[in-house]
């Protein structure tokens, strides 16, 4: 793995290299060289298995972090290539030509985060959210609670208790507290 990283380092500008295990490394590369690196690993370093493509919303930084996870089956190496892309008008070069299943991942990211992958087949088609009419739900500004309150009905029979009020009811129901005093004031 170390040799591999040395070879890659001569060719690419890699940052934040972090060994999770001896045979699993995370690294970060600029957006413009990401697909180049993925292609290189597939064609020259035996990373023939594409594992997954995922995204993290770094809303405070105004970025999405994409992670391309590849596997080298012979030597059992895993490599995770990370890249940061702008959150506004988020767009990334499509990699569907490298592995056909990437089409599905890209369609998912389009739907969940609103990231566009121009040229990726069927990227604008519904993935799982049929008839979705809100902002992409995995973007962190999406208010899940509000959405669920607006969309669903509460389950019947649920009842909760506030610890402080419950303790008052059980332990000192008649003693003065905040609300009692106010009543005396009136």
């Amino acid at each position: 793995m170390k040799d591999l990283l040395e070879r890659l380092n001569t060719k690419y500008n890699l940052t934040d290299i972090k060994y999770q295990r001896d045979n699993l490394v995370f690294l970060t590369i600029g957006k413009e060289n990401t697909i180049d690196l993925v292609t290189h690993l597939r064609d020259y370093e035996g990373f023939t298995h594409f594992v997954l493509l995922s995204c993290v919303d770094w809303i405070e930084e105004g970025k999405f972090q994409l992670t391309y996870f590849l596997n080298q089956p012979e030597r059992k190496y895993d490599i995770a290539i990370r890249t940061m892309i702008d959150r506004d008008n988020a767009e990334m070069v499509s990699a569907h030509h490298l592995w056909r299943q990437i089409t599905t991942y890209q369609r998912e990211l389009r739907e969940m985060y609103g990231i566009n992958f121009p040229g990726s087949p069927g990227v604008d088609e519904n993935f799982i959210l049929e008839g979705w009419d809100d902002i992409p739900p995995m973007r962190r500004e999406f208010d899940t609670k509000q959405y669920s309150e607006d969309t669903f009905f509460p389950r019947e029979g649920r009842k909760t208790h506030d610890p402080a009020s419950y303790m008052k009811e059980k332990l000192y129901p008649t003693e003065p507290t905040t609300d009692k005093v106010n009543k005396t004031d009136e």
Partner: protein, 599 residues
């Protein structure tokens, strides 16, 4: 050709009937990863029902519900979390925030039931097959905290800078320190039940976070009209049950209260507390004693429109707060700030008046609609060991009172204090300062029956006394005071093995073969105080109920058998300031009811 295929293909599907199915009926039976986030587990004996899990849950999947057999008590709401797996997304935030660490996730992820309601249960109470599963998600330790574990340290004067003077040595939080400390609170409210005055603790801590200290002051005064005082010397029972204290330092509730009171200038109190126009209701209440209970009763009665007159035996107000607690812990100007505000509401106070001799209780009964007495425990108790009648054997309360009055007291070079409570620590530390001034060195030893682990004094008092070079040597029972040629030579003690018997009664056991001698030329007894209720005449006494041990009995509103007479404070509960405040508040409500019922 295409058409024939379309007709035949449905029939070819029948061939699959005899094949091994690709789908499976039962769970795979393959164990998840060791840290997989599966169904919840809860150690219900450790859980205190603080509800922090419920608050953090983004999906509102958690309800806190009562559980049979789990009692609501100090520090435990008696509630336990019930999870709705129709909503849970297995994020484990509830586990990560759990204050006691009782809530975890197993790595079990498969469970089949045809009843959807079974997917709502109370982990740890409703038994599940994964309850003993050791694997799964636990809060990663260390350095993974949603709130600070360490309290913001309170700046204090060094022992060398404080052990000669009586100036206040705890300097108070800055804005940044207070907000940082307030930020550690999880707002569970478990503390409120334990506080004798049931103060709105999470609410005023929240006011600090919001930097709305006027709102903070309003919340304090709803249940406690002595916040400067309590912010310094409260026994802070609330901190003992703080949920954050289960896995770290409890929130510095007392210091935060002090911060709010310190930051609000006294000139603005009336405006902030909306007490500028109180309508007088024409009814009069007499209050005996200006200690915490009397002041608290006066405050809440005055707010409701009563004309209150306090009768104080000593030249200044405050009772034990002024005459029992040394100035280095509670400066006089801070006592004055709280008391002056109460007086500014129209409460009258008459100093140097001794009820029973100057005015009788009967006269008060005639002149006022009701009487509240909070006369406290001012009489020192003696060990009654041989030699304890010597003139250089003193009671701690007497000495503390003389120091506060500004009178010089007898201080000798070698002193032994008998007692292990806060009063004993107060006199020990006061004498250490006086010795330091007089002789340039400290030689005072405090010894108590109780061993170090069960000493009744606050831990910090013991630590600070030692920092000030006093010797604290607990676990000894005094046997006699040795006197030679009329002068005290010292105190003989024997090892105390246990203070209480199996049924929890005071019944000390000693090892008579293990003895010790403390050299001393002055001895101070601080083993408790008694009440002095001489002012209650025989005739009134007959109406009041006393228990077998001579303690006065009162109802929930601190009303005695003599309906017009209410008694509270140290005589009834405590002894401490916060119980006095709570008693006074409740008695005020009781007096209001009593007077209104009488028309």
């Amino acid at each position: 050709m295409g058409k024939i295929k379309d007709i035949l293909s449905p029939f070819t599907a029948w061939g699959n009937v005899v094949k091994e199915p690709v789908t499976i009926k039962k769970p795979i039976g393959r164990e998840a990863a060791p840290r997989y986030r599966g169904f919840h587990k809860n150690d219900i004996d450790t859980c205190i029902g603080c509800g922090t899990c419920e608050v953090i849950c983004e999906n509102e999947a958690i309800d806190l519900v009562p559980v049979d057999g789990i009692e609501t008590k100090d520090g435990d709401s008696g509630l336990r979390p019930m999870i709705d797996y129709g909503r849970c997304c297995w994020c484990a935030l509830c586990v990560d925030v759990c204050t006691t660490g009782s809530l975890t996730l197993s790595n079990e992820y498969t469970w089949v039931s045809e009843d959807p309601d079974e997917f709502r249960f109370i982990p740890g109470v409703d038994k599940k097959s994964w309850d003993d599963n050791e694997k799964g998600w636990k809060k990663p330790e260390p350095n993974y905290e949603f709130y600070g574990k360490k309290r913001v340290e309170m700046p204090e004067l060094h022992a060398e800078d404080r052990d000669k003077s009586f100036i206040e040595f705890v300097t108070g939080y800055s804005k940044q320190q207070a907000e940082e400390e307030a930020d550690r609170c999880v707002e569970c409210g478990i503390c409120t039940a334990t506080c004798p005055a049931h103060m709105g603790i999470p609410e005023y801590i929240k006011a600090i976070r919001n930097d709305d200290l006027e709102e903070g002051l309003r919340i304090l005064y709803e249940t406690n009209p002595l916040p400067e005082i309590c912010g310094r010397i409260c026994t802070h029972k609330c901190e003992d049950v703080c949920s954050v204290g289960h896995n770290g330092d409890p929130i510095s509730i007392r210091w935060l209260k002090r911060y709010i009171a310190d930051q609000n200038p006294s000139e603005k109190y009336k405006e902030i507390l909306n007490a500028e126009n109180i309508e007088n209701n024409g009814k009069k209440v007499a209050i005996i004693g200006s200690g915490p209970s009397g002041l608290s009763a006066a405050y809440y009665l005055a707010l409701t429109g009563y004309e209150c007159t306090i009768f104080e035996k000593l030249p200044e107000a405050g009772g034990m707060m002024r005459y029992g607690i040394p100035e280095y812990r509670l400066p006089y100007d801070q006592i004055d700030k709280d008391i002056n505000y109460i007086l500014s509401l129209g409460v009258d106070i008459k100093y140097n008046v001794n009820i029973g001799t100057d005015i009788t209780l009967d006269k008060l009964k005639k002149d006022y609609d009701a009487v509240f007495a909070g006369t406290g425990l001012h009489l020192g108790r003696s060990t009654r060991i041989p030699g304890s009648d010597h003139e250089n054997v003193y009671f701690a309360t007497d000495l503390l009172r003389e120091i506060s009055l500004g009178n010089e007291i007898h201080v000798s070079e070698k002193i032994v204090v008998i007692g292990g409570g806060n009063v004993a620590m107060d006199i020990t530390r006061s004498l250490a300062r006086l010795q330091n001034n007089k002789f340039g060195k400290v030689n005072v030893t405090a010894t108590s029956l109780e061993s170090e682990d069960i000493m009744p004094a606050d831990r910090e008092e013991v630590v600070e006394a030692r920092e000030e070079k006093a010797i604290i040597d607990p676990g000894w029972g005094p046997t006699s005071i040795e006197i030679e040629n009329g002068k005290i030579k010292g105190l003989h003690v024997q090892k105390c093995l246990s203070v209480f018997d199996e049924s929890g009664r005071f019944n000390p056991k000693f090892d008579e073969s293990n003895t010790k001698f403390f050299e001393a030329d002055m001895i101070v007894e601080s083993i408790g105080q008694g009440m002095d209720v001489e002012y209650i005449s025989e005739e009134i006494r007959e109406q009041i109920e006393f228990d077998q041990r001579g303690r006065i009995q009162v109802n929930d509103y601190f009303q005695t058998g003599a309906k017009w007479l209410f008694i509270g404070g140290d005589i009834i509960q405590g002894p401490d300031v916060i119980h006095g405040i709570a008693n006074g508040h409740k008695a005020a409500i009781g007096i209001d009811k009593f007077i209104n019922q009488n028309g």
